[in-house]
């Protein structure tokens, strides 16, 4: 791949900023602070540009301009056209209310658009969240024990007689562990009774189940962080090879 001088320069800037961020591992220093502030500033500017070009223009300004232009057309009822103008002005007007935060006396008005957004979001989300994150999860734990034990037994029979199996036994055992683990995990978070006797035992198993879950998450998190480090190393290696290719050409 051929690199231009511009590409090489930008890659060099990126490598420099990567090293600035890495320098924090040694100790806090001005290079790290510079890179940190730079990313915050650039992100804000980038967000504004992207939001303007991808949202404000085609979701508000253009429909608004179109609805005003429609007034010039002879065809169509004027009342409908004015209605469309109002419909297109409203989202912008609600959005502009957010800017009232900059004025101390009128800052309270900014709560209206927030309340509108939160109200709509909560109204739309609540029934669906209940369905997707509670009911379907609970339903997935409702298994027919007799059917499962039967399947596990038949799998073991196949293994015993023919020397091969379909691994349904382990799948069934996994399902039993999921159901049992869920109940024990919930028992740990049940605080309306003292954790003694059966509840205490279940809660103790529940904490082990939770710890195993946290362990798996920790393992994955370590992999994620190492992956990010590898990503940066790969980029720096690419930079070195790009640099050598550019100067060799």
């Amino acid at each position: 791949m051929e690199f231009t001088l511009g590409q090489i320069l930008w890659m060099t800037v990126a490598v420099f900023l990567t090293l600035c961020i890495f320098s924090f591992l040694y100790k806090d220093n001005p290079f790290y602070t510079f890179a940190e502030h730079l990313i915050v500033g650039i992100s804000a500017g980038y967000w504004i540009a992207i939001l303007y070009h991808t949202s404000l223009t085609d979701l508000w300004i253009e429909p608004l301009v179109d609805s005003f232009s429609a007034l010039k057309d002879i065809e169509g009822a004027t009342a409908g056209k004015i209605g469309m103008i109002i419909v297109n002005i409203l989202p912008g007007a609600i959005g502009i209310l957010m800017l009232s935060r900059f004025f101390k006396k009128a800052a309270w008005i900014s709560r209206w658009p927030i309340a509108y957004y939160l109200g709509v979001s909560a109204g739309v989300a609540f029934p669906l969240f209940l369905q997707s994150f509670v009911i379907r999860q609970v339903a997935a734990n409702m298994i027919d024990p007799s059917a499962m034990v039967g399947t596990m037994r038949s799998d073991l029979t196949v293994l015993y007689h023919y020397g091969n199996s379909t691994l349904l036994f382990w799948q069934g055992l996994g399902e039993i562990i999921i159901v049992f683990g869920s109940i024990c995990g919930l028992a740990y978070f049940y605080f309306s009774a003292e954790h003694k006797g059966i509840l205490g035992g279940a809660a103790r198993i529940g904490i082990w189940i939770l710890m195993i879950g946290f362990g798996a998450t920790f393992g994955y998190t370590v992999m994620a962080r190492v992956s990010l480090l590898i990503g940066r190393f790969n980029f720096m290696i690419d930079w070195v090879s790009a640099l050598s290719e550019y100067f060799r050409a």
């Binding site: 992207i50 939001l51 979001s121 989300a125 997707s132 339903a139 998190t221 992999m223 290696i237």
Partner: protein, 278 residues
């Protein structure tokens, strides 16, 4: 620090030494590459099988939501999935509902398409970014044109041949969402929960464990977690020398050293506690 024996010194080791060692053992395998075995998990294979079973010309959605901070994990995954889709002549609709990564995702899609001679508007469409992913995902369930009257490049969606007759999720075979954010919940909740779209996820390793529960409840049909998920997919499409697979050696060696540090750290702690020095 200077007295108290080796276990006391180890328990009080400056953490910068740990950073240095992890840096070195992660870097060296990238230079001196030795392949490590990568086992294929059923949840990744399920994604591969689903895409592989689709007939050429089928429309599939590959929304991507990641930024520079997570591209090391998700870019290889996105490239692997897109390469598979383009190699099967599938038609791809993609969005980028994470603002920091819009340009990155556009580049990944464009480059992957170019590898297989994919033409914009005929073989793939990039809708780009719109704010509030929950509302956008809900609206796309009605019609892609509602949140995206135009695509990322400013084209009217009706002017793109690929979008003829494609209104919403029901016109796509499945959705493979590659995501580093909590926006995954919106895809599960709205695309699958509200509109019944067939959904698979490719997520960062940090959040992967959160979504195994949805695999078990059949709300998603497949799951790819982090760089390992990407490496598995690369293997499935026969690209064993791609970036995720090459990085797995570093991941494995770094993990070994981290385990070693944990064991040694705990050993030192208990020995010092036994001696009343913890």
């Amino acid at each position: 620090m200077t007295s108290g024996g080796i276990w006391f010194r180890l328990a009080n080791l400056d953490r910068r030494w740990v950073y240095l060692v992890i840096g070195i053992v992660t870097f060296l395998p990238i230079i001196f590459y030795i392949g490590v075995p990568v086992s294929i998990t059923p949840e990744v294979q399920a994604v591969y099988r689903k895409i592989d079973s689709l007939s050429p010309g089928t429309v599939i959605m590959v929304p991507m939501e990641f930024g520079p901070s997570t591209m090391a994990e998700l870019e290889p995954m996105a490239r692997a999935v897109l390469r598979h889709c383009f190699s099967r002549d599938l038609k791809i609709i993609s969005t980028a509902l994470q603002i920091e990564g819009v340009i990155l995702m556009e580049k990944v899609l464009r480059e992957s398409a170019a590898e297989y001679g994919g033409k914009y508007g005929e073989d793939y469409v990039f809708l780009g970014y719109k704010p509030y992913p929950d509302i956008v995902i809900l609206n796309m369930g009605e019609n892609f044109r509602k949140p995206f009257p135009r695509d990322y490049y400013g084209n009217n969606l009706d002017d793109l041949p690929m979008m003829n007759g494609v209104a919403n999720y029901s016109n796509t075979a499945c959705i493979v969402n590659i995501n580093s954010t909590s926006g995954v919940d919106y895809w599960i909740n709205y695309a699958n929960g509200r509109y019944g779209a067939d959904l698979a996820l490719g997520v960062t390793a940090v959040i992967a464990t959160d979504y195994y529960a949805f695999l078990q409840s059949n709300q998603i049909f497949g799951l790819m977690g982090g760089l390992k998920g990407a490496a598995e997919y690369e293997r499935l499409i026969g690209r064993r020398k791609d970036i995720a697979n090459r990085s797995m050696t570093s991941v494995s060696v770094a993990h070994l050293f981290i385990i070693l540090f944990i064991v040694v750290g705990n050993f030192a702690y208990f020995i010092n506690r036994g001696k009343g020095r913890a």
